[in-house]
């Protein structure tokens, strides 16, 4: 039997080797160039790799190469650290898997770097993050790239109550990097039937502080930004600016209209839900891409037709159900996967266990989103027909 060194030598005689400068020339051809595959281990790839290289560790070569290079007639260049592992891998692809044009880069990435050619130093998860988010990284629709987007994302939660609690916990668990919390309330015993981010021993504590504690206990990766205040026309633009997605779980109409107008001005998507009794509504208002809140509801109902959860009650689980549907939509928006709930309104009837989907169209005469965002003034934000009477009736 040959020694390892003899085997590598003999394999190299049976495959094609290619010089780094030719690989570099091939990479500069972009789409028409070869598929360049790094066959080293995860930690080596993370340290640095050839620009545009895809990673298929040699141990997973046979099971994963077809994902990276599905077209067996296309030119494939493999490389490793010095050119031995890639030679063996090239031999496998050529003789066992039928790849028609495989080569191994001479001298590997070591020679590539010696020549002074550029390498890409990728962003990577820490070892702890790799374990924490492993079940995300395993789903192709999220993967490492999606997880990095989540870690970079800034999501603002309006309300740290019924809807806000499950959203905060699950987005924190999912690794959303920055969570803003807006709530001016303190934890009350009657909240605990549904507001699961808070605890019995934190009654009387500000909801933003209580929620922050739960978030950080779950995932210290998350940066929590607290706003212990009520949103109003004077602070809303300053608070929401810079966030990628806003999650609306506020409990009153004036704030919902105010939020709509400010988010249209700043073109920030709002994942919106509302709940009452056993019923929930959910939609995404993505300015100029789909309808806004005013397209759906040009004017709020009078107070007697718009009872609050405080006055009329709500099934404790319902904000969990609706909040997690919101959290799911947030993750889809951030990662850029799936069909977001834009232009669609989802109704959930918990008693009937029934979902109904309705279409929501942009209103060509919408007082807000039919206009240029720059033309919406501070004074009009949050105002709706009969606003004065509405607020007077609502006390």
């Amino acid at each position: 039997m040959p020694s390892g060194a003899e085997l590598i030598r003999s394999v190299k005689e049976q495959i094609t080797e290619v010089d780094p400068k030719d690989v570099r020339e091939g990479l500069s051809r972009n789409g028409s160039g070869p598929v360049v595959v790094d066959v080293r281990e995860q930690n080596e790839f993370e340290e640095s790799h050839l620009p545009g290289a895809v990673h298929v560790p040699r141990g997973f070569l046979e099971s994963r190469i077809e994902g990276a290079a599905p077209d067996k007639s296309r030119e494939v260049v493999l490389y490793c650290a010095s050119g031995n592992r890639s030679a063996l891998a090239a031999h496998t692809l050529q003789s066992l898997l039928g790849y028609e044009s495989v080569s191994s880069m001479t001298g590997g990435i070591t020679l590539w770097k010696d020549r002074g050619f550029d390498v890409e130093v990728p962003r990577a998860l820490t070892a702890e993050q790799r374990t924490r988010y492993s079940r995300h990284v395993l789903i192709p629709e999220i993967g490492l790239e999606g997880q990095l987007k989540l870690l970079d994302a800034k999501v603002l939660l309006l309300g740290a109550g019924g809807l806000g609690s499950p959203i905060a916990l699950y987005l924190a668990a999912a690794g959303v990097g920055t969570l803003g919390l807006v709530d001016d309330d303190v934890v009350d015993l009657s909240n605990l039937q549904r507001q699961v981010a808070h605890t019995t021993d934190r009654i009387g504590v500000a909801k933003v502080d209580s929620a922050e504690q739960s978030i950080l206990e779950l995932n210290p990766d998350v940066r929590v930004v607290k706003y212990q205040t009520r949103l109003d026309a004077s602070n809303i633009m300053e608070i929401i600016e810079g966030y990628d997605v806003i999650v609306d779980g506020v409990d009153n109409f004036p704030t919902r209209y105010l939020l709509n107008d400010a988010s249209v001005r700043l073109q920030i998507p709002v994942v919106s839900a509302s709940i009452l009794g056993f019923d929930g509504q959910l939609s995404i208002f993505k300015p100029y891409d789909g309808p806004c809140y005013r397209c759906l509801y040009p004017t709020p109902p009078p107070a007697e037709l718009a009872p609050s959860c405080g006055a009329n009650g709500v099934l404790g689980v319902l904000p969990g159900t609706m909040g997690l549907l919101q959290a799911t939509e947030v993750i889809k928006l951030v990662v850029g996967t799936g069909e977001p709930l834009i232009g669609r309104l989802l109704l959930y009837d918990a008693l009937a266990a029934e979902f109904t989907e309705l279409k929501v169209r942009r209103d060509p005469e919408c007082p807000v989103c039919s206009r240029d965002p720059g033309s919406i003034s501070d004074e009009e934000m949050g105002v709706f027909p009969d606003y004065e009477a509405f607020c007077a009736a609502a006390g």
């Binding site: 509302s274 009452l276 019923d279 040009p298 004017t299 109902p301 718009a306 109704l347 279409k359």
Partner: protein, 90 residues
């Protein structure tokens, strides 16, 4: 005969009914039939001028009647109408 789905806030006006069967060839007639069967819903659906209140959205199957023919939109046998008021609870 169309079926009209009643939202939670209006159910106290329909004796708790979640779905009300109603006759009519268009949206206006169907809603009028609901208001006749359950008079307490009339004030909530229609303004003093007889027009549908602006805060009440009505969907024929899954489409907003405002983008169809409004109250004149034809309603067929077996169609479903959804009355949808805004909710603000959070």
């Amino acid at each position: 005969m169309a079926t009209v789905k009643i939202p939670p806030v209006l159910r106290s006006s329909t004796g708790g009914e979640k779905e009300v069967p109603a006759d009519g060839s268009n949206v206006a007639e169907v809603l009028e039939a609901v208001a006749t069967q359950h008079p307490d819903t009339r004030r909530q659906l229609f303004g003093e001028d007889g027009e549908l209140n602006r805060y009440v959205n009505v969907y024929l199957n899954d489409e907003d009647v405002r983008v169809l023919g409004g109250l004149e939109t034809s309603v067929g046998e077996g169609d479903s109408l959804v009355i949808l008021p805004a909710m603000a609870g959070g």
